[in-house]
């Protein structure tokens, strides 16, 4: 099929969650939509259980992968390459790391997060955490003299949060998620009266319950102010028990199993039964409108501008024949409106490659993530590690507060899968029991039975501020096999964030001490994410939360999109995705991005009415 010069109402670049939401909303209103997806498809997508090319093939790939990293189930594709956590190295001082994987990294610190280039995007391997941002997160500059203010407030976004939560099918209880039970007004969230999530809160793990009991009444002091430590269930884009007549979209397989989380303990990198939300569900709904076409293996590489109107007149893309060769057809397509939904890094790359939307010189800048520090140890008793969803609760009480004038806020995630993240347990740790500790037979079995169920870890998702020098750029030297640019990244973790890491470590130490946890945390200087603060060493990991590369604002001189998420420079160009977010704060960004995208879809519809 060819789309040469065919004109659509809307051309969307990217079939991840933002592109899928946009397509569904527009398709439902009768708009003719084309989605260009750089990666491959899953053939029949969500409902196809075919073992060869469908979703099931991802499972086989996951089971036999040696390194079960987030992208393990999703094949590498040299025509739409993707970053891998196994590629991350500490950038050397004198030259970029250009020979490891997709990113070209100049440092001084490594950017440690990845994403997936495939139909469904990174929601194929997200954890599903659906936290709202705090009201104060939208006003960091005004309240704390740090970062930037958003051009919109929490109140502006609240109705869109509700729409996004209903669509994703979030499992949570609103009376818990207001954080009114936490004795820290900074973190408390106003919810609309009588609002509740579409599905009931997913049961908290035995570990969560153990922690909640053990930490009852605990406080820490920051700047002579007491802050509480409270364990709270986390809202999750994963099927729980539906409220009322709500039914999650397209649960597959046996209705007694797939319609709710069955505890496969594998949300990242892949839920075998699709009980976790992924953009494949929304894409299926978009396709069912009859107005949305999805073209996979189609890498957009240039946006052409009509210099009279400043409209994006054409999208140029390379449609490759297969993942096995670089052969492609060069194609163009027109849209009355063009929406870039290709992920924060890829959006920035495409804008820079096209030299559009960048009168502010802010495209690619302000790249943020949640540098994620881990601590781990052995509980004094078995807490049933390696069971359930990846995380069912967290400690959100330090997400906000006056201390943000001086240091980063952070959210504590409670991990249910033992030491799988920090140590690769059990697969990577059992060989040592055999080879080094000389255990075999009943002694080996006993050691694993007694120790592994006690394994425990925290994750600290630390806030990072927008910094124009943390950026994605392009460079003619670095291209992939289709001739498209590879992202060139400059990145550093500043003292503001490092101070947050140090604070987080202190909180962790206090919790370990209170609970009698035997610490095993090791921050090795050889770790790529090793950083120092006031003489002490810490290690951060990537959270996969890529934010800020085309941020929105009130001023075209200092931002890339306006509050409608439309490019300041091009009247028919909308940008969606986490790239629009001016600050990252402490919530996983997908829910906020989804809410913003529902809003953006409304703006696009209104704009189309004017054509």
């Amino acid at each position: 099929m060819t789309h040469h010069h065919k004109e659509y109402d809307v051309v969307i670049v990217g079939a991840g969650i933002a592109g899928a939401i946009m397509a569904k909303q527009l398709g439902e209103q009768g708009k003719q939509v084309l989605i260009l997806e750089a990666g491959t498809g899953t053939d029949g997508r969500f409902f196809d259980q075919g073992k060869e090319k469908g979703y099931e093939s991802y499972m086989a790939r996951f089971f036999t992968a040696m390194a079960k990293i987030p992208n393990a189930p999703y094949p590498n594709n040299p025509n739409a390459p993707q970053p891998l956590v196994t590629d991350i190295q500490k950038p050397p001082l004198d030259k970029p790391v250009s020979d490891h994987g997709y990113f070209v990294q100049y440092g001084p610190d490594p950017f440690a997060s990845t994403y997936t280039r495939s139909e469904g995007g990174t929601t194929l391997h997200w954890l599903g955490t659906c936290l709202r941002m705090l009201p104060e997160d939208f006003e960091l500059k005004t309240r704390f003299g740090r970062g930037r203010d958003w051009p919109i407030s929490y109140q502006d976004l609240q109705p869109w949060y509700e729409i996004a939560e209903q669509h994703i099918g979030v499992s949570a209880n609103a009376d818990v998620q207001t954080y009114q039970q936490i004795d820290n007004p900074s973190v408390q969230l106003p919810f609309e009266a009588n609002y509740d999530y579409p599905m009931e809160q997913i049961p908290q793990s035995f570990l969560d319950q153990y922690l909640a009991k053990g930490l009852q009444g605990m406080q820490v002091e920051i700047d002579n102010q007491p802050y509480p430590i409270d364990v709270v269930a986390t809202p999750q884009g994963r099927n729980g028990m539906p409220r009322g007549d709500y039914r999650p979209v397209g649960a597959v397989g046996n209705p007694d199993l797939g319609q709710r989380c069955a505890g496969n303990s594998n949300c990242v990198p892949i839920c075998p039964i699709q009980a976790k939300y992924s953009a494949l569900k929304t894409l299926e709904q978009a396709k069912n409108t009859g107005n949305v076409t999805i073209e996979t293996q189609a890498v957009a590489y240039n946006l052409e501008v009509d210099h009279k109107t400043q409209h994006i007149s054409k999208v140029h893309y390379k449609r490759y024949h297969s993942t096995k060769s670089a052969a492609y057809d060069d194609k163009t397509v027109k849209g009355k409106v063009v929406v870039l939904a290709a992920h924060a890094v890829e959006n920035a790359k495409l804008l820079l490659a096209s030299n559009v939307a960048n009168s502010s010189d802010q495209v690619g800048r302000n790249l943020m993530d949640h540098p994620t520090m881990l601590t781990w140890g052995l509980m004094p008793c078995k807490i049933g590690a390696f069971r359930g969803p990846g995380s069912t609760s967290g400690i959100p009480s330090l997400r906000g507060g006056a201390f943000r004038a001086e240091q980063a806020a952070f959210r504590i995630e409670i991990g249910n899968w033992g030491w799988s993240w920090p140590e690769g347990a059990p697969i990577a740790t059992v060989p040592e029991l055999i080879d080094e500790q000389n255990l075999f037979g009943p002694a080996l079995r006993h050691k694993i039975a007694e120790e592994y169920p006690r394994m425990f870890r925290f994750g600290f998702l630390v806030e990072q501020l927008p910094d124009p020098d943390n950026r994605v750029t392009i460079d003619d030297q670095y291209r992939d096999q289709l001739g498209n640019y590879r992202p060139v990244i400059h990145y550093k973790v500043t003292d503001y964030t490092r101070a947050g890491m140090a604070q987080a470590k202190e909180v962790s130490d206090a919790i370990f001490q209170r609970l009698g946890v035997e610490p095993f945390t090791k921050y090795k200087t050889s770790d790529p994410g090793y950083v120092q603060y006031q003489g002490k060493g810490y290690v951060y990991n990537g959270a996969g939360h890529l934010v800020g590369t085309h941020l929105m604002g009130d001023d075209p001189k200092t931002s890339v999109v306006n509050r409608e998420q439309r490019s300041w420079d091009h009247p028919n160009l909308y940008l969606v995705g986490c790239g629009n977010m001016p600050t990252i704060a402490t919530s996983n960004p997908t829910l906020t991005m989804a809410a913003l995208t529902f809003w953006a879809a409304d703006n696009v519809l209104n704009a189309l009415d004017q054509y």
Partner: protein, 162 residues
């Protein structure tokens, strides 16, 4: 010709799971073949014979013999450890280069080791003994059901080490 009976008997000693439990996984024949694929028959036979001569490890003197004649033996120790890892983790790890130089070459093939460590099969991953040993299920398979994670969790059965 690989000998499945011998393989199960030795595997029981090495893994701490009895032969019935091992057979129940259904992947014993695959592991036995994998072993034959990467280790010379005479080395495997020697391992079976020595294990049989030593007998049950319940008695202390037999344990000492096991360490001396198998676990610490340059030829047989790495093979025994690989068998345990295969059962627990479903992975065939390359044998060390120095082992390979001495024992990995036979009359027909110059190099008898795979180019990298690998997971033996999807099913092998699912049957890995480590998951049962730690009181859970393989991540991504054998799902325990909605909300089960809220309960204290099964503990692997207590073992008597005396």
């Amino acid at each position: 010709m690989y000998r499945l009976t011998d393989f199960y008997r030795l595997s029981a000693t090495l893994t701490g799971y009895d032969e019935v439990e091992l057979q129940g996984t259904g992947v014993g024949p695959t592991y036995c073949k994998t072993l034959s694929q990467w280790v010379r028959q005479d080395v495997i036979q020697e391992l079976y014979h020595r294990a049989e001569e030593i007998g049950s490890l319940e008695c202390e003197s037999n344990q000492a013999q096991f360490y001396e004649r198998i676990w610490n033996c340059a030829k047989l120790g790495p093979v025994a450890r690989n068998i345990i890892k295969m059962w627990y983790l479903s992975i065939w790890y390359q044998l060390p280069a120095d082992w390979n130089a001495l024992y990995g070459v036979d009359d027909f093939s110059a190099d008898k080791q795979p180019v990298e460590d690998y997971v033996i099969s999807s099913n092998a991953y699912i049957q890995g003994l480590v998951w049962n040993a730690l009181g859970s299920h393989p991540m991504g398979a054998k799902q325990p059901g909605y909300g089960t994670w809220a309960f204290p969790g099964q503990s692997a059965k207590p073992l008597n080490l005396d």
